[in-house]
Symmetry: C2
Subunit: 257 residues, 2 copies
């Protein structure tokens, strides 16, 4: 049963680190948060790293993290598959395949799409399409709907969303997104922590997926001015954060200061 | 100026031929149509053959065809590019590049997508996306919106539509389709023939793109029961053909018999 203990959900990329560097002051701030009477979960839409890899990266940067505290989009996809007893055709990056170990993928009756990067080619998309088009009832499960990301060369590059749209259009159905901002994602995390929405907070740098998604299920949404934050986020028509703070350390001050 | 001479627009694949064979009776029927007082144009959405290749195929099957009578989606794209004085980035099949010879493609400010087949891969799609995302005003021009086609192995395979959708979603704009069923396509053909919509007929096997597209600009739409025709086409909620006939020969009988 959920009690009155406060829950804090923390996005990773852009909040605790940017690229390969910890955000200044964030390691100490996480320590202060752990000393307070709150429960923590780390929530990420990355679909290019297994949960184990995410934990390794955070520890390598100096964060004290328990594996069970990390909720990722690939694991949300795994839960959706198990709940519906599906046999998934996986169109995912090779680096997250381990998150799907042990699932029955013979004679697939669903398609799961993650950020497959350069593995998005005609043959891999067509193979996924053929699974879908054989039966109108087969779900298309997506780990996220991001349109693009800032690539290593400084330019913008296609994220998984456009490829999910392509499959959805071809097969004539809507994709089911399992990562943020899906309400089920936030509810699963809250259930796992034993916390209520009204006493829980989401800290993120993505206005729509972190702040908007969390607010939609009743959490408080705090936006940090690091990572993918842009000043225009503070005057958005659709989402209005409960607080906007400079960085993760300031968010912790705002919460427990 | 348009006069009262009747115009007849004829789709190719599924009407005059299926695969590599002429539809029985169609060669004679075209001869009878040429003896009547009508003007003819051949209209195709194929974006894997140049106009010259289309003419070669028809002649090889035994059809008497003049090159200037053929209107294709790549040529419609070329007209759109020239009208708007654009410099196109081409994401098309190598076999239709000749239809775009002589256009200035340096420093592109538009993207043109045809059925590129296996050339739809991450890098080619990302290159097209980067042209679009640099400026919101850059148009995305599509030769068609077909979702899939029946492939050589008997299975369904992805057509160009899903890849156009992917780019449209990623870049946050709508694609402009220049082939059938675009009204501008039919109007261009009528203008070229000097015929009016009310005295012109479209004969095709594609309910939405041939019959519906033609009817939307005021032509009579005749559906043939060859090619991609399915019995369900005769009870469609959106499009109701002016006539449904067994094949092209029957359509000619219906027109001039």
């Amino acid at each position: 049963m959920a009690d009155e203990t406060r829950g804090v959900l923390i996005d990773l990329s852009g909040v605790l680190y940017v690229g390969d560097r910890a955000v200044p002051g964030a390691i100490d701030a996480l320590g202060r948060l752990r000393d307070a009477d709150v429960r923590l979960r780390f929530v990420t839409n990355t679909s290019r790293r297994t949960r184990a890899d995410v934990v390794d990266k955070l520890r390598g940067l100096g964060y004290a993290i328990d594996t069970a505290e990390v909720f990722s989009a690939p694991l949300a996809a795994r839960r959706a598959i198990q709940r519906q007893r599906l046999r998934p055709h996986l169109l995912v990056h090779p680096s997250v395949r381990a998150d799907f170990d042990g699932l029955d993928s013979a004679d697939p009756n669903a398609v799961v799409v993650g950020d497959a990067g350069e593995r998005f080619d005609y043959d891999s998309l067509n193979a996924a399409f053929r699974v879908l088009v054989e039966d109108d009832g087969r779900p298309l499960i997506s780990m996220g709907a991001n349109r693009y990301f800032k690539d290593g060369d400084g330019g913008l590059s296609l994220d998984m969303g456009p490829f999910v749209e392509a499959l959805a259009f071809a097969a004539g159905r809507k994709a089911m997104t399992v990562g943020k901002p899906a309400p089920a994602f936030f509810r699963d995390v809250l259930q796992d922590m034993g916390c209520k929405p009204a006493t829980s907070v989401m800290i993120g740098d993505d206005l729509a997926n972190d702040v908007g998604g969390a607010q939609a299920v009743g959490l408080t949404g705090v936006l940090v001015r690091t990572g993918k934050y842009r000043p225009a986020d503070e005057h958005d028509d659709a989402v209005s954060p409960d607080a906007v703070v400079n960085d993760f350390a300031a968010a912790v001050d705002w919460l427990i200061g």
